[in-house]
Subunit: 454 residues, 2 copies
């Protein structure tokens, strides 16, 4: 059965059991769900039902309830917890790994998060506080500090015994090997342990050319390493190369999705952390600045049009067609910009090969300009019966599409070289440029050839 259908059925049952007040059956059903499915069920329930369902489950099976809250994502998860007393949140937070707890607690209102940390058991709250001390979006912030490591002086037989006695350690893909001062010195795997005799020292079978992440490494770089070397987990070390945590591939997948969302959003002028159900007031505050900048640049473009009011006064048809030149420039520039920004994000585009990209984009711009310029010229000639008006429009479009291609390539590469996120600022720059050049080339050419247009 497809996952979505299974969840929909469960959701229907949850709604029905809640309506008729069949608490025992409801609890039974909830306990059978996977945390990820529970998270989706929570997110589809109306606010009040969600809280009631969560309360019911949290009382009986705090761990499962909190795992589901973690799967909701830190923002929505913290929103669900925030209505509860600090004592209860503290108790529940101890049910999940401290990296997940840290992500949730970080999103609680400041006072509440301080109270929760005070009320947690010192060991757990210490771990959470340690994690929260690392900068956001770094390896230290997202790592799990419970990393299973073996001393290099153990034999394979002793290592297997260690694994058998530490039953609570979950997800052991790689076995990291450390020296007596917990410096990371090597890695091996469970499978490798089975292929050699029990007396073999770990030192002899471990691989020493292992890839690790520093606590202060950007999470995007961590994700890139895990993805390009096909790792299942990456060990995290401090500045002295001491093993302090591990980041598993499931967390890396979350980072990759988050970074892709951020890139998509930035191209459209939306804050990276906005979601479909971010409250309206917050969305408004986040989106207004970008629209404000766009308004200012729109007035800049308008001032170019104002230069030619005299020409428009004589030939009002120019007002009809000028948005076409500006708009097509914007569309073509967006295509180029998107390919370039994504190429930078995927690591395919660097300064060294940027000349090749520029030549290609310019060629595409010329090609687009010729085809679309001729098409537009013919339409205008047919509509208005004036071939010169058509030629002026076609020529202006060709010019603007070349500008669009060039700027769409150079602006993001330039921003990247200046260490500014190219996705963030490019689209405002580019559309302003194509508006200004579009109006200027079209109205300018029209002014020059005005005696053929009247």
């Amino acid at each position: 059965m497809a996952a979505q259908r299974r969840i929909d059925l469960a959701l229907d049952s949850v709604r029905r059991l809640q309506r008729i007040g069949a608490t025992a059956n409801l609890l039974n059903l909830l306990q059978k769900q996977h945390p990820a499915d529970l998270a989706q069920i929570f997110s589809e329930l109306p606010d009040r039902d969600r809280e009631a369902t969560f309360s019911l489950l949290a009382e009986r099976n705090g761990r499962l309830a909190m795992e589901a809250v973690s799967e909701l994502g830190p923002e929505a998860g913290a929103g669900l917890l925030a209505t509860r007393p600090a004592e209860e949140i503290a108790k529940l937070a101890q049910e999940i790994p401290s990296d997940d707890a840290a992500a949730l607690i970080d999103y609680l209102p400041d006072e509440l998060s301080a109270a929760v940390l005070d009320l947690m058991r010192p060991k757990q709250s210490g771990e959470v506080e340690n994690l929260l001390e690392y900068d956001e979006q770094t390896a230290g912030r997202i790592m799990n500090p419970h990393v299973f490591a073996l001393n290099e002086d153990l034999t394979v037989g002793e290592a297997i015994t260690e694994l058998q006695t530490n039953r609570e350690v979950e997800m052991v893909f790689y076995l990291y090997v450390v020296d007596e001062r917990t410096h990371l010195v090597g890695v091996t795997s469970l499978r490798r342990l089975l292929l050699v005799s029990p007396e073999t020292p770990l030192k002899r079978i471990m691989a020493t050319d292992l890839i690790s992440a520093r606590v202060d490494m950007d999470q995007e770089e961590v994700a890139r390493q895990v993805a390009s070397y096909n790792l299942l987990a990456i060990p995290v070390v401090d500045e002295e190369n001491k093993l302090v945590g591990v980041i598993t591939v499931d967390d890396v997948i979350d980072v990759i999705k988050e970074e892709a969302t951020e890139d998509i959003y930035r191209l459209a002028g939306v804050a990276g952390d906005e979601r479909a159900f971010t409250p309206a007031g917050e969305s408004l505050r986040k989106r207004l600045p970008w629209l404000g900048i766009n308004l200012a640049t729109a007035f800049m473009a308008a001032s170019v049009v104002a230069l030619f009011e005299g020409t428009i006064q004589q030939i009002t048809a120019l007002a009809v067609f000028m948005p076409i030149v500006a708009g097509m420039g914007g569309n073509a520039a967006t295509q180029t910009l998107t390919v370039i920004v994504r190429g930078i994000a995927l690591g395919e585009l660097t300064w060294s090969n940027s000349r090749k990209a520029l030549i290609k984009e310019a060629a595409v711009g010329v090609g687009n300009g010729i085809v679309l310029g001729i098409a537009a010229a013919i339409v205008v000639w047919a509509a208005r019966g004036n071939p010169v008006l058509g030629l002026v429009l076609g020529a202006a479009m060709l010019i603007n599409l070349i500008v669009a291609a060039t700027a769409g390539t150079l602006v993001p590469l330039g921003l990247r070289a200046a260490n500014i996120d190219p996705a963030l600022a490019s689209s405002v720059f580019i559309t302003t440029l194509t508006d200004v050049f579009g109006f200027f080339s079209f109205l300018g050419l029209a002014t020059v050839f005005i005696r053929f247009l009247a």
Copy 2:
């Protein structure tokens, strides 16, 4: 040492050794690289050097050379292979797993790929041909058909012996358990085997509620399952629930990146498979249709302006400010559209909670409209000394931003309900709508209040 710096140093050495013709040293250096690093080195070299370097490595260490080609991605990888004779490609393709070989061979020119399949050993070419029979972007197409499975009647001790003798099986995270007719019946892990006595039958310790993918499942759905259940691999079964392959999390990461790129591109009207270095002619062919549609819709919007040529004739200032109303609508609509499209892609937005999203976006639209409308009105009043012109512009902007918010929410949700990719078609619809409504509301209001504007 950071990965990028390590690669840059290696790249410098490659260039230097190639220039002085130190083949033995160059080969030595290449052999020490990780396939992912080699792929990046290849991609940064000029075409001719890339082919020379690849040839050198392929002759000595075909597997490493082909692993690097795989990491380049199927399109670029096939491009590098396509200049070689079919015999050589066939020999090299046998060095890598058949799912990776299939991805590359699929991108070779048709004649060449047929010749390569003919020349491969029957077993391998059979596997590749089987994979290529599944539809693109399905589980069957991307799975690895070499999946390690254990019979349910084995004991734990026998299972460990199997693992020790099948040394070539790589990356065993989960041990899938099948019945005598290879139906998938359960899953266990290497670690679990170590925690029970060797006489225990696998049947007793395996988990039976396992998540699997059907061969025809869309790869995006496969990725969603692996990501939401935090799996390291997902078994692939045919319609009779027979185990036929496995998809590992590293392939899922590639799918997630590919799908994110596709979403980003579609919002900008770029084909999902275009890359920064797709040849100019091909890019042109791929981008022109979308620009052509945009040109047609731009003429539609222009025809709205044409309705008001009489008004513009009297008040040319309208021509100066009308692009602002249309443009701001487009910007605001793009913000809404992006949040909604991404919300759909991430599975956060469904029909059942779409009303809530619509109310939120409408509220944001009203808020944006009031703030920006007032700001624009004041600027125009100050610039032109006519308060009514300012009011007309402000009111038109408010109307258009509400239209933008509503359409930006409803159009993608509607396309989704009609099973059309919302990212694909939304942006053309939306910008046409905001252009038409922007021009109509601004010029319409101006026509109504024309006696206060002259």
